[in-house]
Symmetry: C2
Subunit: 121 residues, 2 copies
């Protein structure tokens, strides 16, 4: 049902937690299943220097957020804004169709956190 | 959004894992969100002596399974079969309407594991 990469990131997720001194925080909800995702960013010199997430969502939400945060850590804001849930799902070697909606949470939360960062400037 | 009890069982779930020498195993899927739940039972003298679960489901699925397994551990098969998802949700001081479907997984998995136990006799 799930790829090895999904199970790896689900059982041992990266970048889980909060950043008390975050420069941007994004919180998004999933209309389909009622789950929420919160993303915390530290930004320095236009780059994402640290990133953490917390979710009440399922294994697919955890796995996609784990790999998505890995992918954008160290990137510029411009590159991070280009992250799509399609790229994240591909990096995980796919997800069952019923779980694609979970992967959207990570992409939306990153964008919401960057919007929050700009709003604070 | 979530009660203290839900957050307690979500952040520190009880009875997570597998039982390699289980007497009954139940696996059920959730048509609404595509998540799965697996329940393992040890049964001795008509009583549930041990119980563990594994799920790919969300925080509500984890919290309901954690408290449901607490509730039926040590019970007779007859009493365990009476467990309803309504009773589990009440024991958690409620769940948001969008997450009630997640609580059904635990009840169904217990019943599937008991059916598997009877099938093996
Ligand atoms: S959304 Fe699937 S178990 Fe909760």
């Amino acid at each position: 049902l799930y790829s090895d990469k999904v199970m790896e990131h689900f059982t041992n997720p990266h970048n889980v937690g909060e950043l008390p001194d975050a420069d941007g925080i994004g919180e998004v909800g999933n209309a389909k299943c009622g789950d929420i995702m919160k993303m915390y960013l530290k930004i320095d010199g236009g780059k994402i220097t640290d990133i953490k997430f917390k979710t009440f969502g399922c294994g697919a939400a955890i796995a996609t957020s784990s790999i998505a945060t890995d992918m954008i850590k160290g990137q510029t804001i411009e590159d991070a804004l280009k992250l799509t849930n399609k790229a994240v799902v591909e990096a995980l070697d796919g997800l069952p169709p019923a779980k694609i909606h979970c992967s959207v949470l990570a992409e939306q939360a990153v964008k919401a956190a960057l919007a929050d960062y700009y709003r604070r400037q």
